[in-house]
């Protein structure tokens, strides 16, 4: 599998990371190096093998579906780059 510049551009877009046009060829080549390395996995016969979902065979703990914490609006907004009137503020989303 070889990654071309269009694919690199698409992946950067999906990852929401701005990559300038002139940096795309180098990025594509780095992807190819990593994917070439990963490619070895195709040698392994995994017929009938279950994909791992949990490394320790334990059932996840359950608890009652109730409110256990809250009332900390100020703390939650404390580190926001832009918070106004109790909300996170972002650039206009809807025209």
């Amino acid at each position: 599998m070889s990654i071309d510049i269009d694919t690199a551009r698409r992946v950067a877009k999906l990852a929401r990371i701005r990559v300038e046009e002139d940096a795309l060829p180098a990025l594509a080549s780095e992807f190819n190096a990593v994917l070439g390395f990963i490619e070895q996995l195709s040698e392994v016969d995994v017929e009938g093998v279950e994909p791992m979902t949990s490394v320790t065979p334990q059932r996840l703990k359950r608890r009652k579906d109730g409110v256990t914490d809250g009332n900390m609006q100020e703390k939650i907004l404390k580190n926001a780059p832009d918070a106004r009137e109790g909300f996170f503020a972002v650039p206009k989303v809807v025209e």
Binding site: K13, R18, E30, V49, T56, I76, A80, V90
Partner: protein, 495 residues
Amino acid sequence: MSDLNKLTLSAARDGLRAKEFTSADLTEACLTEIEGAGALNAFVHNTPEIAREQAKAADARLAAGDAPAMCGLPIGIKDLFATKGVPTQAASAILEGFKPEYESTITSKLFDAGAVMLGKLNMDEFAMGSSNETSTYGNAVNPWRRGNEETPLTPGGSSGGSSAAVSADLCLAATGTDTGGSIRQPAAFTGIVGIKPTYGRCSRWGVVAFASSLDQAGPMTKSVRDAAIMLEAMCGHDMKDSTSADLPVPNFEALLTGDIRGKKIGIPKEYRLDGTPDEIVKLWDDGAAMLKDAGAEIVDISLPHTKYALPTYYVIAPAEASSNLARYDGVRYGHRATLAAGEGINDMYEKTRAEGFGKEVQRRVMVGTYVLSAGFYDAYYNKARKVRTLIKKDFEDAFAAGVDAILTPATPSPAFGLGEVSDSDPIQMYLNDVFTVTVNLAGLPGISVPTGVSATGLPLGLQLIGKPWEEGDLLNIAHSLEGAAGFVSKPEKWW
């Protein structure tokens, strides 16, 4: 008493209880040492006020006779752990200025046990790296040097600040985290002990997430006994981490009997890689001979899927990272890019992440995005999850055949020079974790113990891998190996 900073946790604990010195004395000794160690770039946010306050409280507890093992002992905390009101950046520019409003479970437990925090420690950005060269704070530097050379060496990564600080006696011990070898490799590169416990032993709550199915915290210490003491304080069930194990935590120190007679130690033939330096092979053979002399039985074993561990890791870890790091969007915390007129929310996301994430983090997030994208999910991600099942089964088969622990080298080489492994060839850097990454994929406990010195005068370590939840047994075998190896070298102070 001088040189209090050079004490082990156990010696300092015993000295505090015998009233030979106070936690305030210990803490001042470490703070002075940190002041003079700027060249190592190990501590990146110092917290002397917190340390002095905690030391004072610890001395009061000690005087009252209410003193758990960690009480009054000054340690460093990896920058990956959320510490309330103290900068927590995961060594990333994207978290610049972030001060958590909460404390991670691990640091809460350590502080409840009376530990003293000296500051936050350098690391690779988001724990992605094996040399501490991806940090926004700049490189941490290994206190060890090759003979008389002045070439700055890596302290390993990602817990490079932790390893450098413990090795240079800036603190008595430090916390680390290990996703593919990030505790064990830096420990080996600096001549200290590092243990990654079984997945689920230590709560991940409040630890900045990299790859959630692989991440585990653990202690980095000057001795195996210290690792036992500190690990016990860090372990335990936590309702805030759904993968945290609800199992009793043993008194690990009490299990250090030194008696390993009859233990079966496996030597996996697949770890005998072509091109491994002779001195690493000899270190490994010597380690096996030491365990045999102590009464263990050495058996050859096979872990047939070993060679697929790194490629599996480099699908699963980036996939989980791409998902975990989606939260850094410039909205809730950390850096937000300045927008030009007319730029919208997508520009904000893309510019924020391009400015905030370093090169290696960007690379891994994008590789993860790719392997999870429509059309490739089965070919890469699901395939890797199936191979992971096989890697885990290799270990299960070995343990089912009666093996108690597995002995391997910790790293394929001693510490290398900063800048020596090229940034343009990520695979070369990834190979550092060839012996450690299998353990994360299988969720097992693994410990790195210094057992020798390279021809260039640098420390070398061996790794022992244990059965799930058998950290006590693992520590005891490591304790025996440590005693037999008698590694006592320290770096000569140049900083």
